[in-house]
Symmetry: C2
Subunit: 591 residues, 2 copies
């Protein structure tokens, strides 16, 4: 079916049902950052395959809003169809709210699948449209109806995340949640966030690519803990694990009727996570406590067992990365390296490591000018060969049973210009200045962000991304409230939080440089009442000495670098063969 045939079918259905406009977003019922094929409804309808964006269809118009990452890709993918692209964040284009309030009339109906929007999104939309008399209906699945050969719901088996990795049993975690509920005088808690549920019940799965989660809901009361999940996915071992921890398993869809028949007076949930259709089932008599989910905040700070494991997974990942860099350096002149096969090589090297499960996101291998595109993905149709010059940017990560990693290295492939070296060194300065920060307990990631940007700002350069994000523990590679960012968020950095530090320089048509290590927030000295904190490094992969112009480094920066490189050698070399070891010794020698 062509896009325009799909549109014709959709419009016929809309006409039958008297719907003025139909909204299609990129989401699953759990507001996941990444979604399974089964939920790629917007992608199927519009032909645009990017990871974010939303469409609106009326009898006259077919509109697609996309953000800056995808302007070029979306334009290409929807060309020749009736869809028009609207650029998010560009004031020359109306926002969807502006478009709706301008072109829809009183009593017009905007329809959508309410299972795919959060309650908070619904409330915001309702507030915007109500003054204009525009009605919202949320019980339609029109695109789903016309989607032939729609991929099935994911059916990966669940597995238990064992106590040796989690440090706490599921029963202990549920009790912790119950304590929080009592403090808030909540009699029940409802969860839809897949990472929250997996953490809480010590389960993992494979329902979303690169995200070892299980499509599920959870309901906790003072005497019950229920996991709503496709029972076919629960193998005997997991069944036993859940039952040992007093967790009841029910079929996924039963959450709707259970919530409808819930007999409690107060229910705590996060309206950003619970979808509108599920929220709608909650009896009116129940008082809602709307707040950030407890699991989301608790799991952001790793416990001692998790942290010990996480450290170990980073060492293994660092070994794979270091061996990868050695491989690249050895094969630069072979003429055989390209963006696709080096990503495969990196995968093979990670796979050799103990407890490896999967990449934590699709590897970005971007050579030369491709590196300037922050979200570049090489494809079999479109990839670059690696020449013996310039930079290869590799942003990748792994899921291991004992942790999740995320790391970026920019590798010198041979001849570098002075500009290459200057920008690499400035990026390194940015990284170092944040990495060595010591700060008072209570400081936010917003407060510290400038430490990374300042060395680049001194040269009037900026990177158009955050400086760092939280990392989950065998869960999402983007997770938790912690981040280094220029946008304020009132989230103090707390002991046990894992966070990335990834400043960069991106020059369109030339190259991209990003240097990313991950750190755990740790206690430093306490002086009187002042608890100082620091960033404790998890990643140990050498920075590329060929790309560093040491004349640009201050003494303390050079000290940091030499000390770091030394630590890389100490931690990684025991796992290398003789040639690799010899190379690493030179690569990490004091500069």
């Amino acid at each position: 079916m062509t896009t325009d045939e799909k549109l014709a079918k959709l419009r016929r259905l809309m006409k039958e049902k008297n719907l003025t406009a139909y909204y299609v977003n990129t989401a699953d019922p759990h507001q996941s950052e990444y979604i399974a094929e089964h939920y790629q409804i917007r992608s199927w309808l519009t032909g645009f395959t990017g990871s974010a964006g939303y469409a609106l269809v009326t009898q006259e118009e077919a509109l697609l809003w996309v953000d800056g990452r995808y302007f070029i890709q979306a334009e290409k993918e929807i060309s020749g169809t009736e869809f028009k692209m609207l650029k998010i964040g560009n004031s020359a284009y109306p926002t969807i709210e502006q478009w709706l309030t301008r072109y829809l009339s009183r009593n017009d109906v905007l329809a959508m699948n309410g299972e795919l929007i959060s309650e908070s999104f619904y409330l915001k939309l309702e507030k915007t449209l109500k003054p204009y008399g525009i009605l919202i209906k949320t019980d339609y699945q029109l695109v789903e109806e016309i989607w032939q050969n729609r991929p099935a719901k994911p059916d990966a088996f669940l597995f238990t995340h064992e106590l040796q990795y989690t440090g706490k049993t599921a029963a202990e975690k549920v009790n912790l949640i119950r304590k929080k509920m009592m403090q808030d005088q909540a009699e029940a808690a409802l969860y839809a966030g897949l990472d929250d549920i997996c953490w809480l019940f010590n389960i993992r799965g494979g329902d979303i690519a690169n995200n070892p989660v299980v499509i599920s809901y959870a309901l906790i009361t003072m005497d019950q803990a229920i996991l709503y999940v496709d029972k076919n996915k629960v193998v005997k071992q997991t069944d036993e694990h859940l039952s040992e921890n007093n967790i009841t398993i029910k079929e996924y869809d039963l959450v709707f009727s259970d919530v409808e028949n819930l007999h409690v007076s107060t229910l705590v949930l996060n309206q950003e996570k619970i979808n509108h259709n599920l929220f709608n089932k909650i009896p009116e008599s129940i008082r809602i406590i709307n707040k950030q989910d407890y699991p989301y905040l608790i799991k952001a700070c790793l416990n001692d067992v998790e942290l010990k494991n996480q450290r170990n997974s980073y060492i293994k990942d660092s070994v794979a990365l270091t061996r990868f860099i050695y491989y690249i350096k050895q094969n630069l002149d072979s003429g055989k390296l390209n963006e696709l096969n080096v990503a495969q090589t990196l995968h093979d090297l990670r796979k050799e490591q103990d407890l490896f499960l999967d990449e934590s996101f699709p590897t970005i291998a971007a050579y030369g000018a491709n590196g300037a595109m922050m979200h570049y993905r090489a494809t079999p149709e479109n990839y670059s060969k690696i020449e013996p010059e310039g930079f290869l940017l590799i942003d990748s990560g792994g899921h291991y049973l004992d942790g999740t990693t995320d790391i970026t290295r920019t590798i010198s492939c041979g001849i570098l210009t002075e500009e290459h070296k200057t920008d690499y060194t400035l990026t390194l300065k940015a990284h170092i200045n944040l990495a060595r920060a010591i700060f008072l307990s209570g400081a936010t990631g917003y407060y510290l962000d400038v430490l990374a940007r300042q060395p680049l700002w001194q040269y009037h350069m900026d990177y158009k991304s955050g400086t760092g994000h939280g990392v989950g523990y065998l869960l999402g590679v983007h997770e938790g409230p912690q981040r280094f960012n220029m946008h304020y968020a009132d989230v103090p950095l707390q002991e046990g939080m894992v966070i990335t530090n990834e400043p960069g320089v991106y020059k369109e048509g030339k190259y991209g440089i990003r240097l990313e290590n991950d750190y755990v927030i740790a206690k430093d000295k306490k002086v009187d009442a002042d608890q100082f904190m620091k960033l404790d490094c998890l990643s140990f992969v050498p920075f590329d000495r060929d790309a560093i112009d040491i004349s640009l480094l201050e003494k303390y920066e050079l000290d940091w670098l030499n000390c770091y490189q030394q630590e890389v050698y100490q931690k990684v070399s025991p796992f290398l063969n003789q040639q690799e070891k010899a190379w690493l010794k030179e690569e990490t020698a004091a500069m």
Copy 2:
């Protein structure tokens, strides 16, 4: 009258009127930061002379809340009286809200003078007490009634701040306000902030020590601009100035009846600034737009004429300070220097400068261990002699017709230990790292604050104050929304804002170090859409080379220092005599 006699009289009045508790704060009707003698009601009643704090009196209790700056002083000053001190910010003591809700009963009456509290304070208090059925009455002036020999209201003459200093006529400024009013659909604007009114009408006065303001209100409508002020204070020249700018003068107290009879449908004001009694007069039919006063935000960014003048006033002030440091250095061995007479010398040197009016705040001259008390004031009863060793901290500023300054230098008086030098140099590093910041337009002072703290945090030291505050223009030395601070405020630093940079090291019983320059926010390069900003220095007084350990400075810090010292010499030396000049040449020579 002793404090306990005052309390007895107050309690008798309270009993007559059936008032359970009486609240006395430190304020004037304009919520000024500093207040005239006439309004020092809390000070008169309690005997505690600090600049902040509030008292609560019942038949059984006499309570005084004070903040950390004043614990020692307040304890001393109220000892032997019935007053008890409660420490603000110390959880061992109840807050006043906690105390009131715990010890007062339903239908008890808390009374106060509503002219001395802001409307927003009243609303907050009412919200807290209402659930407990505690009543608030705001039409009492009981302490004022029993205060015999109360100082009269200030009666300083007004003077005109001439166009050559202001760059805009009062009529132009009023028109600017009217434009803003139209944007907000406000038909009238009411002002109580003395700095706002003085700026708006290009007037100054002398009603509050070190604050060249005029006790007044202002009301702006689309066709009238009214200044409410004691007419006896308006001399002919000012009367003409106001009339030329179409500003009507009315007696101070008439604002109450004018507001009561105001015929507009919308009124814009700031509930943080308008006192409760005045707010109460506003007819209920008027819709209130509660927001930050326009003059407060507009005047925070100096216009070109103001900035040219402000720069000039800082050069004059820097000359006075530099000559002062020379004087100190020459007289260290005389045995005659003390905290009081050096402050007088500094005053005399400032007075020699063109257009000098007054200190912008009482000079802090703190020798040795006194410097560790951030708000130390030497008094004729209690001051230190300056010995030829250790540090003298001088924090001072001047009001000139063409600007207001604020600067701190810490002067080596002779023998210094390594600890002295290390801490001085770390403070200098902190200063430099903020001073040289380059940042994207839109960054807040909170976002940049860490640049100053980081060099000290690296040594596990912190200063318990903000890093910087806004400075007015022949108005308050603390002014404007801009600041460098660890507490978040959503105030981007904008071109033309003047702000201090004053990190420090304070070691109890040993010494205090503070190094303060003032800067104006200025545009730096623009690269594509990125407008970079910088801090442009206003103050040019040498840092003390005897106190600097250059081994602790990074190369870029030493470069900054040498460049700064060179600029000091260039800008200040033309105004010095031969001996001073020769000394400054050596003092500022490259290190």
